[in-house]
Subunit: 570 residues, 2 copies
Amino acid sequence: MKLEKLVGDRFKERPADCVIDSHALMMRGGYIKHVANGIYSSYTIMHRIARKIEEIIRQEMDAIDGQEVLFPVVMPASLLEESGRYESIGKELLRFTDRNDSPMLLGMTHEEAAVQLVREYGNTYAKYPFMIYQIQTKFRDEARPRGGLIRVREFTMKDAYSYHTSQEDLETYYAKAHSAYERIYARVGVPEVVSFASDPGMMGGKIAHEFMLLTPIGEDSLVICRDCDYRANMETAACIIKNDSPTSPEELKKVHTPGTKTIEDVCKFLKLPLEQSCKAVIYQKAKTGEYVIIFIRGDLEVNEAKLGNILQEELHPAVVTPESGLNAGYLGPVGLKNAVAYFDTSLKGLNNLCCGANEENYHYTGLQIERDFGAAEYHDFAKAIENGICPDCGKSSLSLSRGIEVGNIFQLGDKYTKSMDMKYTDDSGALHHPLMGCYGIGVGRLAAAVCEAHHDDYGPIWPMSIAPWQVHLCCVRANDPEAKAWADKLYSELQAGGTEVIYDDRPVSAGVMFSDADLLGVPIRVIVSPRNMKENVCEVVTRTKSVSEKVEIAQVAAFVQKLKTEMLNS
Amino acid sequence: MKLEKLVGDRFKERPADCVIDSHALMMRGGYIKHVANGIYSSYTIMHRIARKIEEIIRQEMDAIDGQEVLFPVVMPASLLEESGRYESIGKELLRFTDRNDSPMLLGMTHEEAAVQLVREYGNTYAKYPFMIYQIQTKFRDEARPRGGLIRVREFTMKDAYSYHTSQEDLETYYAKAHSAYERIYARVGVPEVVSFASDPGMMGGKIAHEFMLLTPIGEDSLVICRDCDYRANMETAACIIKNDSPTSPEELKKVHTPGTKTIEDVCKFLKLPLEQSCKAVIYQKAKTGEYVIIFIRGDLEVNEAKLGNILQEELHPAVVTPESGLNAGYLGPVGLKNAVAYFDTSLKGLNNLCCGANEENYHYTGLQIERDFGAAEYHDFAKAIENGICPDCGKSSLSLSRGIEVGNIFQLGDKYTKSMDMKYTDDSGALHHPLMGCYGIGVGRLAAAVCEAHHDDYGPIWPMSIAPWQVHLCCVRANDPEAKAWADKLYSELQAGGTEVIYDDRPVSAGVMFSDADLLGVPIRVIVSPRNMKENVCEVVTRTKSVSEKVEIAQVAAFVQKLKTEMLNS
């Protein structure tokens, strides 16, 4: 199509509210329009990219025997009451009533609808395994939408659901889906995406993986071993601490440490390294308000995801009131009252620690936990650290990264089939609940992630496979009849050859033309100009600058076609 | 794909709750699954049909320079407050609040989002005309969903919005869109769909058309002239009555008509034709409760859509209380109190009418309105009638039909651009509000309408263009190795040739196989069987039975390919 006709404005200035580059470039290039917090409309250019990503996902889902279906956006509350999630999911599930006061909700994931669709169909083992998927609008009422299409409230998502009669079959299919996901990321231009074991959270089940694009702007903290294949989301990563053999134990001694409320202040005051301190981190149980104190080595942080999983309790950072009987800033294990204490494994085997004395302006030195506190319950509560010990290879080679989650897969087991009473008869006539897997990819976020991975200061650099157009044809000085006639002819030729062309024949300067082309990020640019015409050539330049050639006019269409094919297959 | 693997159940019995055939067949064939009132999931078979319809619509929208975009399903209330529709639309607009108590709604049509998307872009006349469209999920909280996919609450719709700088340009584009719609209906297999002038209703604007598939199960009443091109929706159709020259006037005379509360009873009692009676129909103004009586010839009905438009007042059928001072059942123009009276043009020039005497058990005969009531206000309030007078050609050739609305187009004018303050600068620097058109088609309803138009007792008969698959390959007695090997080979050959094949090689009887095939409604059926193998042939049968041939095995793939192409182009 002609660029002149393309609906959407482009501009130079980075909008002040755009923190990340993909958001800024999508605003500047006329890709998306803000409608409400976390809700966007897509202009044609964005919609073309999204449809190409959807088609790649569709092909890969079909290749692993997926059948595309469509679930509703609006569902009755009763459907999620069957699984118990109507109660258990928080405010991100948008609930409302319809004109008849029936409670309804907006689908943010469709496990229940997926079970409802096949509950009768899947009544005998002979039908298994099978997989259904949809590409559909979802709504998740996020508290803090951010980063343009990275974290929105309304989004298009592919969600797939597989059904199995054995754990082995589920695992086999899960591995196939994992490979399909790897092919999807490779095909959309981010083969560097890697998977991490993750916490299934509200989805249920035990085994889950997240696919991550590593980037400093990512929301997720990731732990990766430089020496082996170990990879984990910070939420689930183990923290292994090997303390040196202890020094000879000293006596427990109360010392006056005026005004030293943080562990850093105390250690500085006492001239001790942080590693020789026992830090207290206070939580409260959400249900009862009871205080829970985690003691941990002063240089480490508590991993709250692991904490919740280990204690099987919902906890939040404590509000310490005067009535609590707790001396915030001076909490320590010795003489502790009004709270339950747990210890991180980082403190195991240490002695001569400093810690709070449960008395304002006083700490202890010389702490040895078993001697001075008694029998302690130790768990791995700590966040993994840079250069920490890898749980797989044992080397001190852990590295911390950030990543954008661009897909996740879950082995759900029988969580939904059991609660929603889906059953099949096996070959002996016995009834069982099938096992399920589920597999999600957000389309818009994936597009934004590709943009994060592939852009420069001037615009996105779209891979050929998902680019809004394949060729950007610029006719510089379209008021020159010869150049215009030739550009028109090339436009027709390229389109006739099945190439998607955006054609800029506006009467604007080459500067405006090229900066607009940069914002569109189309992989191949062809420049027709009176100056080139004199040499009987066109310039063919890729957005990455990997190719920049003057090609004889008669050869341009064939050259571009070949280049396009190479770039599609690379 | 293999039919064995197709998710969804098929069954023989017509479900008791299915009133219309398309609903029954879509349930019986495993096309859709009921999730909640007016909300369905689609199985693969339905989704394939929907995607083909969408692709046809997309091509035709692109052909009239449409640019595909995507608006949100969930929108902030503030957007519809700008146009005033947040207040003016009734309960079918689903309103709710998000986690921050912000008022939101589910999009049932996207005029406001369409203006918001291009309000800045369309700031100069040089950008016009342009058209944007989307294919997106909509939600309309219908009071009475019915007929499977015919009237649902959640549905996929293509909605398009065009922008113009003059009424002339809008009309030119409107005509182009009208033609595109005709091509869409022809391509999906219902070229018989025709357009009717309609009432724009809550959409605003003056000119609108509905596209109708004529069918007895339709919800809409339509008026069509048998002799000329006149077509109108009953809501807007004129009712022209030419009364015979009046008989010599009699005196107004009160008669005792005990227990005759309806006009039929009175006429029977008085031995008068209904055409010689003046019937009273009572309404109340929604705002004030004031009574409005429409007097109309006894054989005619009031058209409430015309009534509201003519009086520019929201009215509802009256609740007549004892305090009203009205004598329900005996209302007439003479001596009428406590109500405003209007007269239908059908009464004009008549004399010797019977009418209520505003007194229980009494009527008048000999009524002549001007003589006995005074100056009367006449309007065309009546519903058009079978064999009524055509307003275009004047012949008594009107015919009443029913139809399913399968699309509508509107000239919106500046209703939305004015209320939402979208402006462009013309070539002299003056500011104007652009004019808009909008163009909608529901995908699921169109599929259901095609099914209504093309089915038999055994299943749908899908046109090749939107059929879920193009060829249904049946291997009867798949336990015969030769037949099976040959069917497998044909399956591969057809697929390699780009044909979409559903392959049934289940170990079931030919009866089960063929009744399943009937429910799938695939246009070409190829039957491989041991008996056919002996003759070295396959049977090739179309779902319509227009073709039924034995084709030599070696020729089958080529024969089917040719037949498919013919059917696609027919």
